[in-house]
Structures are given as C-alpha cells and as structure tokens.
Symmetry: D2
C-alpha cells in the first residue's frame, strides 16, 4: 500500500516537518499492515536445553546468579529483548537444586508451572505450600506472592509459562520483592485439598472477578485419570483427546490470559490441519511424534518444547505404537474475550 511519490524539494521538506512534529504519513508506512515482528515455528530439543540447565546448576549458584535459575526459550523470529517464545508467551525451564530457595516476590504477569522432573520441591503461593511432582500444574496468579524451595534430593526442573511479552507490550509490568526472603507457610496443598473435587464448592466461596482459578495445584494423578477416562467420542479432529484445565468455580481458563491443555494423541492419529488466532507452546510429556507447522515438519520426542505461532497452519501425527501426551500453554483467552478469535481450515 505504500507509495513512492516523485521526490521534490517541497516533498522532502514536508517529510522532514512531519517527522519533526512526531507524525508520520500513512503512505510511506510500508509495513504497517504487517505484524511488528513475526514469530516462527520452532522446536527446542531436550538434548540441547537439558544439559544447559545442568551446566547452569553448576556455573550459577542461585545465591549469586540472580534469584531464579531460569533459561527462557526465545523465538528466533522475534527480537531477543521481547523475551518471547511467541508474541505473547514467555516460556522457560527453571532448575532448582536440593536445598535451594528462589526468594519470594510477585509480579503483574500471571504464571503457570508444569513439572518435568523431580519431587519434594514446592511453590509457596500466598502461604499455600504446593508440593510439586512430575506432571503437576501449579499456578501463581498475577500479583500473588510466591517463592520456591526444594526439600528433595535430586535437581528439580519445571516449565514456566507467563504472559510476559503480552504484558510488556501493553506497558503493564509491575514487580515487587517480598520484604523477607521467604513467606510463611500456612499449610500444604491447601487449595488442592479444598477445591480439587471440582463438582462441589464451598457455599460461601465467590469466584475471583478476574477469572483466576481458586485451585493452585492441579495434580498429575487427576489429569492422568481424566485423560484415560476420555472416550473416542471426546476426540476432536484437530486435537484428538484434549482436556482443558479449568477454573472449577466458573468453567473458564485457569488464568485470565492463558489456558493450559493436556492432550493425548492416540497411536496412528493424524489430526486435521487448522489455523487459529492463538499461539501455543507445547511440551512433550510422553511419547514421540511430529507436527507439521506452516509446511515444515517438526519431529518431537519426550522432553522437547515447540511453538505454534498465531495463524500458523498446524497438524499433529503420532505414528508410534504408544500414546503421545502433550502439555501446552495457550493465549486463547486473550483472543476469545476480545472477540478476536477466529480459525480456518485453509
């Protein structure tokens, strides 16, 4: 749509004056109808990031190396200072050694954790000591105090997912350290005990007006049970057997801007391709398979991460003889709540 007018001294002076007054002509704005940056499909191999985590454990003692030993995945299509695995999502792996503590703080971006390895670590969310085991999903909603500790014997690795690039793009980032190193513990798995039976709610309880879930720890045992209770009639042609983690008080997503899924691709499944106005980052929890994203095939194995940026045509294959299980974090609620969500089979 941009046009080059014949260059004249008057036009040159005009452009200069426009710029001096902090304005710009639309007709010279060549890229205006393109996204500012363009995230690309990408896969991070377990064989590559896992050793880096371990090396960080050796090289970067947590008491000296910042408060959290976190390595973030950067989408190669985005500028590094966006810190995005997609336009909206920060995704990282966090590595905690036995006995280490990641000090208490809070921030305006909400976070999810999905545990990849280890046990006996915990996240203290507002006093609720959420015990972390492989497959658990732990929430730390926006502006809620949280700190991590580790009482086990083996290193702990989990996935972090935050809506940080989105929040930063909106000019909306707050961060505050807790006055002490750690906050007091009120009990263990408190919200899990109170709310894991989703079909009964304390009559006094009111849903949070932001839509944030009251349940902080979604245990793997239940996700696994629900996953295996699914029957063929639950299968989506695009996602096979997929479950959305929900806020038990509303049926909505676990956090206002991000939703999490766990899905099972059965042996032999090849899903139907689709584009969606949403971006996703997948973690391969079990099994192996491949995804074709915008025409490029990505083979994935247990432990890998890969992303599907907004509007990329994507489909999944499981050619193995065992189930593949994918965990994902998605920014779908942003698009749905703003009336912007759409999808296409083309």
């Amino acid at each position: 749509m941009a046009v080059d007018l014949e260059s004249t001294p008057e036009l040159g002076q005009f452009y200069e004056d426009v710029q001096r007054h902090h304005m710009t002509p639309l007709w010279t704005a060549a890229g205006i109808w393109n996204p500012v940056h363009r995230a690309i499909p990408y896969l991070w191999h377990r064989d590559e990031y896992w050793p880096l985590c371990q090396r960080s454990g050796e090289l970067v003692p947590i008491e000296r190396g910042g408060e959290r030993r976190v390595l973030a995945f950067l989408n190669p299509g985005l500028p590094p200072e966006m810190y995005g695995a997609t336009h909206t999502l920060w995704v990282a792996v966090q590595y905690l050694q036995p006995g280490e503590i990641a000090p208490a703080h809070r921030h305006s971006a909400g976070a999810i954790r999905f545990i990849l390895q280890g046990d006996k670590a915990f996240t203290n969310v507002n006093g609720d000591k959420c015990i972390m085991e492989r497959g658990d999903l732990v929430l730390t909603p926006a502006w809620v105090w949280h700190d991590h500790g580790h009482e086990g014997k083996e290193p702990m690795i989990w996935m972090d997912g935050l809506d940080l690039p989105f929040a930063r793009a909106l000019g909306m980032v707050f961060f505050e350290p807790y006055p002490q190193h750690r906050q007091p513990v009120l009990g263990e798995n408190l919200t899990e005990k109170r709310h894991h039976i989703g079909q009964l709610r304390p009559a006094l309880a009111e849903p949070d007006p932001t839509g944030t879930s009251p349940l902080m720890n979604y245990k793997w045992a239940q996700a696994e049970e629900a996953l295996h209770a699914m029957s063929p009639e639950d299968a989506s042609p695009y996602d096979d057997l997929a479950l959305e983690y929900i806020n038990p008080f509303t049926g909505g997503s676990v956090l206002p801007t991000m939703t999490c899924w766990i899905q099972r691709l059965r042996p032999g499944v090849h899903t139907r391709p689709r584009r969606q106005m949403t971006s996703k980052v997948f973690h391969v929890f079990e099994g192996h398979g491949s995804s074709i994203i915008d025409g490029q095939r990505f083979e994935w194995h247990k432990g890998d991460f890969f992303c599907v940026p907004t509007w990329c045509r994507h489909e999944h294959e499981n050619d193995s003889s065992a189930d593949a299980v994918l965990f994902s974090v998605q920014d779908t609620p942003i698009f749905q709540k703003l009336g912007l969500y759409r999808e296409s089979d083309e």
Copy 2:
C-alpha cells in the same frame, strides 16, 4: 388496602357488570398483596414415612400401581392439588423392590434423586446407567429420558426433588412416555467417569445453554471427601460447613431452577438466624439436631425431612457430640436469576 364502600343498588349493579366482563376491582381484592397460598414450616418423621414406604411396597405392586411407587410430602399450608412441599418444590420418597422397573419417560420438570438406602439400583439417563448408592446425587434434567431399575437384593429408597409446583404454576408441564418399557444402556456411570474430575474439561465440550450440568451422578465418596476437607475458614455463620453441588462446566447450580447442598453442622454449632427469598427441603443424612423456623423448634433425627418455606426465619443447632449432615434441595436459582433474591437477618 381493600375498602367497603357503602352498599347501593348502583354499586351492586356495577360489581355485577364488572364480574360479568371478567374483570375485578382492585379495591375489593382484599388478599391481593398476600401470597396465593402460604406454605408453613413442617417436619416429616422417618418413623412415620418409612413404614408407609414399606407398606406401599406390599400393597402396591409396581406393575399394577402406577409406574412409580412414590409418596410425596405435602406442605400442610398448601392445597393438596399443588403437590408442593414448598410453593415450588415437589419432594417425595421413591421405593423400589429388587427386580422392579420404573418405566422410561421424560417430563419438562427437572429432577434430582438423593439415595437414602440400598445399592445396585440404577437410573438410566439418556443411556447412562447411573449406579445408585447411599448418598449419591443423581440428576434427570428436564426433558431427558430416564427409567429406573434395581438389580440388588434389598429395597431401595431415595428422595425425589422436582420443580413441579413451580412448573405447574407457570402453565408449563410436558410429559411423554418412552416408546419402550426401558431405554437401551450405553454404559455405566458414563458422565461420572468423564466429568467427575471437575477441574479438567474435554476441550470439545460446550456447556448446555440452559445451565444444566453434564454430570449425572455425583457420588457420595466425593461429597464426603469434600465435606471433610472443609476447614473452619469455610464456615458460614448461617450454614456452618456447606457445599453446593455445581455444574463443573460453569460453576452454576446443577439444574437451572434448583440447587443442591450438602452441609455439615459441627457439634455445638448454633447458626445465626436468617430469612431468605428461597425455599428449601432438608433431609437429615446423618446425626441429629434441631432447627428453629419462624419461632417453632423442630427436632430432627437421621432420616427426617423438613422444609423452610420462603422468607421464614430459620437457624440450626447441633447440640450433640457428633457431626450432623444435611442434604437439601433449594429453589434459589429462580430468585437469583430473576433479580429477586434477597435476605435479611431480622
């Protein structure tokens, strides 16, 4: 507000003409600002209704005595033809002998069943064979095919709750027998298996637009676990430790017009009195205690039923040394959805 005008021939003729044209003056309508009928607080003793159930089992073979061996509780303040335990709620006990079948049908009123005694009976809800055991809550939503059967060895007794007086008052009752005696069984506890883990939802699933729950069988084991996971901070001054059964897809009530609660009154608890724009029928599931309703004390024991009509001041006491557990069905959603709900401590 009604007034007696001095009687004159002209006025007499006027009243006659008004009546003849199917009209009425407001100033002679003495009772217009009163409810049409006035339900009263009442208690039905187990010692009285239980033997009647047993006698009905002997006297009324189900193949001859109507399709369902049901004895309904009638509020003494309401005319019998309203069939109301309160203005809005039909509550009854249903008695099924081993081997008996209550044939398939559907109706526009939604129903809940709460199991008082027995096991191995079932309700087939649209093909889902919901196994019924003491303490289970089984739904048969409006206009859904259902039939009951009994494969156990002991008589089965459960509570029925329907919004039938409400539906009839609105002129809105439909009933249809199923073409066959029983409908086919697709599987056992199907919705229970798929949806009992309320915090994960099949990604394909959409909430029913009427608000009806997708889960047909709320098992006692889970209600019991949730009840005992409650802590003092969940206690309401009016209801002590109360849980609402919810639609796991929305967080709303299990049926559009009725909600169900299970609540635990701890030893020594005396709740704060309150009036509410809602009516309730309670079943004493465990323990004993008493309730003061509009100034009248009702002592209740395990197995009893009692009602709290709309706007009756009520409070509960547990002076025993053990928990008392009350199940209740309430018409609260009607008042809340229509903006009519209110409450008062006076």
Copy 3:
C-alpha cells in the same frame, strides 16, 4: 398415569394413614402432569371495559374507594383469587380524574404503565415526576416508591402490568405504604432526560444488578419514530415489525421478569403461527385486525385487550388498509433466564 387399585380395607387404611401424615401417593395424583390451572385465550372489548372505568369514576371516589381506581382483567380459565390475565401477569386499567391522587407506596412486584388516554397526569418514581401522555411507557420497578397525580382536565386511563400472579405463586409479596400521602418531587422526567439517548451513558453509571432499566419514562414520540424507521428487513415472520423496549445500560428487558413490545402489523400481513413458552397480554393501540389463538379467531379493534397464554398457537392478521399497532407485556424473561424458553411452529 394414575391408576385405580382394587379397593381393599388395607389399601383404604393405607391411604388414610398417608394423608394423615401429609403425604400423597403419586399413583393417585391424576392431574399432576397438568398445570394447576389453565388460562385460556380471551379478549376484553373496549366497548365493555371503558364504560366500566367511567362508572367507577362516578361511583368510587378515590378517597373512599381504595387507593387506586383500578379494574383488573381476569382470565376466565383461572380462579378469580389468582388475579391473573395469564398465569403470571396482572393486567388492569387505571382511571384517574383531574385533581385526584393515588397515594405513595411500594411493592415487591414490578409494574409497567402504558398510557391509553389523557395527559398531564404523572407518576412520581422515587422523586422523578414522569409526565404521562398517550403512548408513553412508564416503569415503577420492584420496591421503588411511587405515587400518581393528575394536573390535567380530562380523565386519564392507563394500562397497568405487574408480575403479581407470578410473585404470589412464589410466596413473594411485600407491600409498604409511604409515610406520607405523596413523596417529594425532585424534577420532571429526570431519568428520561438523562437516559433517553440510549447510545451514550454517563461514565459513572453502573447497571442495576437486577437488570432493571434506569430509564423510567419511554416516551411515545421515540417509540413512534423507531417504529416508522423499521424497514422490511426487520420484519419477523411471527411478529412483523416488532420492537422491544430495552434497558439502555444492558440491552436486556426493562424489568427483570417482564418485557414490553410495540409492534406494527402492516396492511395485508398474516403472520406465521407459533407456540411459545411465554404468555402475553396485548393492547390494541391503533388499527384493527384479528388473531387466531389455539384455533379461535379474535377480532380486535382499537382499545381492546387480549391475551395469549403460554404455549397457545397464535398468529396475527391485518386485513385492513392501515397499520395496526399493538403494545404488549410479556413474561418471556422468566422463561429465558431459567433456561425454560422454547418455541414450536407446530
């Protein structure tokens, strides 16, 4: 579904015992799946009710004859003590002479007024003196103080619509007289001035949580303009050119339980028949035509009232050469909000 068992002494004793304990068997409940009462389609002629209004004006001085000179339409299918034009709706005509006052009070049932004749009367709603002219719709929401007065020279007649039979069926009726005869006037048409331009809202304003409209006086001038701005593409096959009065803050109905419509039947229109889970009372504001309701034709002329009870098949005809304009009050929000609304072309 009810059955007659062979009469035996044991059965007789059983029935007696059941009744004594305030219970009833389902198998003897012959009418249980029918509505309690059955409203029928009916038409009240202007030529009949209008003279009665005038006679009431002579015979019943308002200071002696109750506080309001109101004649209500009673559905011949319902018992008179229900005071229903349909199962849910009280509809009446109110007659006020110049200089008369109907004293201030409030009640839990919400009310609409639609002005049939006269001007310079007013309803004072919470201090807002709503000037009433032919064709205006004036609201007095639930539990809001209101009184009427008349500063004109000719008698005033308007239609009253209340959800009174519904409220009474729910056991939910409150009434309170104002401490004085009249309440103070804060200004004229205050909410009309502030909110009649529905597409701009004071930024501070919050919608009422019950859904009640903030606008108390919907002037005829605007209804008329909107009605005539409708184009053929707005025509519904069932209702021709129909407008719903809405709450400008939410787009919902004007009161939580009742909605009002104004509709124009163009010359030659014959609408498609339909049954709906809703009841309606129509006032013929302009023109003449007929409606076929459950197979019975009702010819209507300017000033008549007629009702369409729930689930009655109905269609409208305008065989004249001029528009017919119908105002109606409907209980649709009750059914829609409770997930009970349905409709059928059969």
Copy 4:
C-alpha cells in the same frame, strides 16, 4: 534483578551455547520487568499538524499518494515502526479534498472516526453511507468493508483511531482490498436510522457476538444533547461530566477493544488525579484548559491532540469561563475484559 557473575571462560562458553540454542538466562535479562517500550505523555498542537494536513493536500494527490491521505501521531517514546500514539492505539488525522475517494478495503483492526471539520463527506460501511459532520463518531468495525468519499466543497478532516499497535503486537493483522474501487451504496445513515433510538431494539436483532455496536454513526446532535442533559450528580471527580458512547444492544463499548468518550469540563473544574491501567488519546473539541500528566503540565486548545499513556498520573483543569469538551479514544476494554484493569489515586 539481573546480576553480573564473575566472568570465566566456562561461563562465557555457557552464554554462547545458550544463545546458539535460542535461549536466554533470566539473570542477565536486565529489562525483563520493564515494558518493552515506554510511551510518554505528549501533545500535538493544532497549529502544527493542521498546516501539515493542508500541505499534504497539495503535495500528495490521493490518486498517487497512497489510498488515504493520513498523517499519524507517533509517540516520541515509542519506536516509529510501532506506529503508536500509545502502546495500543494508532491515532491520525485524515484529510480528504472535495471529490476525492479513499478506495474500499477492510482490515482486522477496528476503526473509529471522529469528525473535526467539514461536511458532506461519507464513509460507506458495508453499504451504509454514513454522512460525516463535525462531531460525528463513525465506526468501521474489524473486517468490515469501507470506503470514504467527499461530495462537499471544503476539505474534510477527521480523526482516525485504530487498535493497530495492539493488533500488530499480537501478530494479528489482516488487510484486503475490495475488488472494486468503491462498494455499492444501499442507503444513507441506515444503521443510524434503525438504532439511534437506543431504548428500542428490533425484536429480531441479535447482538454481535464480538460486542461490536450495530450503530455505525453516532451523530453529534445527540451527543451534544446528552452532554447538556447531564447534571452535577453525574460528575465524576476524575472526569467531571463524562459520557461513554455505548453499543445500544449490550451497553458495552462501541468496539471490542476500544471505547470512546465525550466529556465536558465545566469552568473552574480541577479533577482529582488518578493512574489507570488504560491509555487514552484526547482531542480538544471545544474550549481550552490543561492537563497535568506525570507531573508535566500540557496546555491544550481547541483542535489539539494529547495522550495519556498507561499508568500515568493525570488530572484536568479548566480555568476558563466556558466549557471545555474533550473527545477521547481509550483501550480500557482490553484491560477490563482480561481482568487486568486497575486504578490508583496515588
């Protein structure tokens, strides 16, 4: 939060390896808890941009200089390629000479136009020829065909507001030219005629699921009337007499991501300062005054534009003896719908 670890060869190699695998350590991410860019308060003077518009009219014939003669305001704190007056909002002035046409197209970003000068231009929105006059607000919702033309005799200037930086940040921009230069006209001010009386809605009409208003042209005459009907009790301490343009079908904002306000600052008013999680761009429609934004005073006069970026403390003053009238576009719906909105008096 970032830390400098002592530099060692191992650490250097580690950082190199991390980067090579498209990852980054959190502990070196110095700016991660800051917004990506920081918009600053700024004011664009009418005396500066208006002559530039006129020069563009001379130098850039629309048939050669791109399809639209638009000069956009660029926030000096943001990189020019973001095209943002704030982080989320593109705001520009568009200049059309008599007889010129801006060809038909559509895009995924929604747009508002607010008319600053001229008459007899029009925007054709999906066939609805919206006549544009000073003070009118014209919508072109996302993905709706639109083109502009000008049948008057004087140049036309209007303000454009789009959520373009927001859409581009989400990677969500679509653009499509219409097959012809212009689209057919179905009529004039069609939606204005049908929906400008916000309190009556065609009974057939359904709100758009995205929340977009059905009304495309909000005429100044009505905004002015509503503005002057406001009384002191409508005054907000932060905004004085402010009106929000609303979707008459829902009471929500006119577009899913942007809301528009018109507000009147009375003589002598000095509003209370506040920070909000929202950004706004103001146009001074009438009068003069000043705003203090993050401690800096901006004097504004008729025709000026100024912005208040997210979380900037701001207050307004009108020290003149006449009303000042401000139009503004705001991104508030984004923050409110995502549960992110907050405000502070500090």
